[in-house]
């Protein structure tokens, strides 16, 4: 189990990570979801022993990574957001070097390299220089380097940034396989869909703080809404507030000129009763969409902002 207690990292006035408390259970895929700049990378840098926290404690099965770094890191695989590979070397050379740093040698190293390349579908490109690889192939190799020594814990920092949907699906499949084999995975992303599809539990993070933690069902239930309405039209903020704020069973999440996001209370009168009232409110409406509650709506209801903001 990974235990994080009171983790803090401040850069002057900026609180990159501000008092995080978290437990990640063995064998689960734990998602850390938040917009860019929420503090995900800072947090994962501290958990992986790269960035020293201002305060707080990080333990892996009771071993503090900042006290016994070598012991912990032997069981730790990290896949950074940037593609950190030696482009002038072949895929095989890259893996052999990282494997040797993790104590693999001889036949065991060769077997691990072969298996890892096979797992990410790069076995036929093993002897090619990485600089000749596509972006997706480099991402897969980047992932492969974190998996090579079969770590007990795998930390992935936005591993699918900047790649095509097919390559993204391939990476998600690999992560699922690894987790199924018993590896504990911490996965950071700002893609809501990834967190929804992949993670057993999710923490939503913003401004260096965890806003909520739970399974997908628990989080959506926690929002207390059955649906989310998005209204787009030709109106100003004041008139939208005036005409919609009094409607029973409708909770305004975000109101601005031309756009309103509102949640329909699960315990209220229901969508069929509220919808005609919204349409008859007198607002000039061009488009109206209804979404089932998801991590996006949970995030919006918690922060008033969309994840992509």
């Amino acid at each position: 189990m990974i235990t994080i207690e009171g983790l803090r990292k401040h850069y002057g006035e900026i609180k990159a990570v501000d008092g995080i408390v978290l437990e990640i259970y063995d064998g689960e895929i734990f998602g850390l979801l938040g917009p860019n700049g929420a503090g995900k990378t800072t947090m994962i840098s501290m958990i992986s022993g790269v960035l020293r926290p201002d305060s707080g404690r990080i333990t892996f099965d009771g071993l503090n990574i900042w006290v016994e770094p070598k012991k912990v890191k032997r069981n730790l695989g990290v896949v950074p957001q940037e593609i950190a590979v030696y482009e002038d070397l072949t895929a095989k050379d890259n893996l052999e070097f990282w494997g040797s740093l993790h104590g693999l040698r001889g036949p065991e190293l060769k077997r691990s390299v072969h298996e890892a390349l096979e797992r990410v579908g790069l076995e036929d490109r093993a002897k090619d220089r990485v600089k000749a690889f596509s972006g997706g192939m480099k991402r897969r190799l980047n992932l492969c380097m974190g998996l090579l020594h079969r770590p007990k814990y795998l930390l992935l920092d936005e591993p699918t940034v900047g790649i095509d949907p097919q390559a993204r699906l391939a990476i998600l499949d690999i992560v699922r396989e690894v987790a199924a084999a018993g590896t504990t995975v911490l996965y950071t992303t700002h893609y809501m869909e990834e967190a929804q599809e992949l993670c057993d539990r999710i923490a939503i993070i913003d401004h260096g703080q965890i806003l909520t933690i739970g399974t997908l069902e628990a989080l959506t239930r926690q929002s207390g809404e059955s649906e989310v309405l998005k209204v787009v039209g030709n109106f100003d903020e004041a008139s939208a507030n005036q005409r919609l704020s009094g409607l029973s069973g409708l909770r305004l999440i975000r109101v601005e000129a031309g756009t309103v996001l509102a949640g329909i209370d699960a315990k209220g009168p229901g969508l069929l009763e509220i919808l005609p009232k919204v349409l008859g409110s007198g607002l000039s409406i061009d488009d109206l969409s209804i979404q089932k509650p998801n991590l996006q709506s949970v995030f919006i209801s918690l922060t008033g902002r969309e994840l992509r903001d």
């Binding site: 992986s48 990290v78 950074p80 950190a84 070397l89 740093l101």
Partner: protein, 447 residues
């Protein structure tokens, strides 16, 4: 230690995969050393200091003393031609020594006289300097011979005077000449003595060189002068050091280029690789493996050293082969030369790491590396021997490790020194290495 070694070998492997790095490590130093070795004099290091220098004599005096001077000049590797009159200058004259009309009279009277060396426009300044030095040397021998002749006669006279109870000064003997002319017997004695006189560069006395005879009491105190035909003074003409000239040809170009290119590869490729690894997140990723920050920095420094060590080994190997092919004299101690260059490689390796830590941009780090290398190579004597630059610059050059390695290498190659003599220079390199290592450890923070 195992992790440090793994990182170092890995860095070597990456560098050797880079064709341009390999070219700068091995190919270009050999090309440059060969080219400049040939330009600067080739295997024998031909130098005007060693060769015959052309000189035309215009003897307006025509005296015994001027003839004696010409004889001295002939012995000093001058290719002499003679000009009969002022107007009869030959078209191929490069420089002319004019012996004035009153040369003998002035010298024997103790009056200063001036020999004029006229250099033709467009002729070699270096050869003119050599000619000037040799003329001074010949004149010095001439004057020394004259003084010894005077002393021989003065001692003889003094002995007679003592017997007669009348003290005498050696230089008073000139009074016996007519109108200041040197008596015939004295001239012949002088010619005998001057052939035997040699003046050491170290014991060279401006007092004598200016043609001023030493006071008799000072000379008599020395008690070294004897009468008779045996040599009165036997002083060999020698140069300070064991080789009478600054390094030239391959003895300059091989150590100079080895020193410069080791530094160049370390500061450019070394710094650029560190910058790239930092930018791409590889250094941070290294930290996520079971390797400590110190091991990472140590591995990077050792990596640069291993690369420079390989480079040095190839270059010294080339020098050894060149020595066989073209009869190149590199002082005969290639093993010690290799060891000195290895120490130098270890000294500058952390500097490359520190430089890489200071810059975020790969190209900028490499550019600064090139500029730093050029400056240190120029000041350190990689392009020309330090011996030819001014004293203030020689002192300033002590700030650079290149100076100390070049001193050690010149000591081995050009001056035939052994470990005992060059060890202080190597010691300074070690101190530089310690300082640069501390700088690299402080600068490269991978956390």
């Amino acid at each position: 230690m195992a992790n440090i070694l793994k990182i170092a070998i890995h860095d070597l492997r990456i560098t050797l995969r880079d064709r341009s790095a390999v070219m700068w490590m091995f190919f270009l130093p050999i090309v440059f050393a060969t080219f400049f070795g040939l330009v600067l004099g080739g295997p024998s290091g031909t130098n005007p200091v060693d060769g015959t220098v052309a000189l035309t004599i215009l003897d307006l005096d025509g005296s015994t003393l001027s003839s004696a001077l010409i004889e001295e000049l002939k012995d000093d590797r001058f290719g002499l031609t003679f000009q009969e009159a002022l107007e009869a200058k030959a078209s191929d004259t490069v420089r002319t020594l004019v012996i004035p009309e009153d040369f003998e009279a002035s010298v024997t009277a103790g009056v200063q006289t001036t020999l004029r060396l006229e250099k033709e426009p467009g002729t070699s300044a270096e050869a003119a300097l050599v000619a000037q030095a040799r003329i001074v040397r010949s004149v010095t021998r001439l004057i020394a011979g004259l003084i010894m002749t005077e002393l021989s006669e003065a001692e003889e006279e003094s002995a007679i005077d003592v017997i007669l109870g009348e003290p005498a000064s050696p230089f008073q003997s000139e009074k016996s000449g007519k109108n200041g002319a040197v008596p015939e017997s004295k001239t012949s004695n002088f010619l005998k003595s001057s052939r035997k006189a040699r003046v050491s560069a170290e014991s060279y006395s401006p007092y004598v060189a200016q043609g001023n005879p030493k006071p008799d009491d000072e000379i008599s105190k020395k008690g070294r002068f004897r009468t008779g035909t045996s040599p009165l003074v036997s002083i060999d003409t020698t140069w300070a050091g064991e080789r009478p000239r600054p390094p030239s040809g391959f003895s300059q170009s091989i150590p100079g280029n080895a020193t410069m290119f080791v530094l160049l590869v370390t500061l450019t490729y070394g710094a650029a690789s560190i910058t790239t690894e930092r930018q791409s997140g590889l250094l941070r990723r290294l930290l996520t493996s079971p390797v400590s920050p110190r091991e990472i920095v140590g591995g990077k420094i050792l990596g640069r050293f291993v690369i420079s060590g390989l480079q040095v080994s190839v270059l010294v190997g080339f020098a050894a082969l060149a020595g066989i092919w073209v009869d190149l004299d590199l002082g005969g101690n290639l093993l010690l030369m290799w060891a000195v260059l290895l120490v130098y490689g270890a000294c500058v390796a952390p500097l490359g790491v520190a430089l890489g830590a200071w810059f975020r941009d790969r190209d900028r780090a490499a550019n600064i590396g090139v500029m730093a290398t050029m400056a240190m190579a120029a000041f350190g004597g990689c392009w020309w021997p330090l011996e030819v630059v001014s004293q203030p610059l020689q002192k300033f050059a002590m700030l650079f490790p290149t100076t100390w390695v070049m001193r050690a290498l010149h000591g081995l190659i050009s001056f035939g020194h052994g470990w005992k003599v060059i060890s202080p220079f190597v010691g300074v390199l070690v101190l530089f290495g310690i300082a640069f290592t501390a700088l690299a450890m402080r600068s490269l923070r991978v956390e």
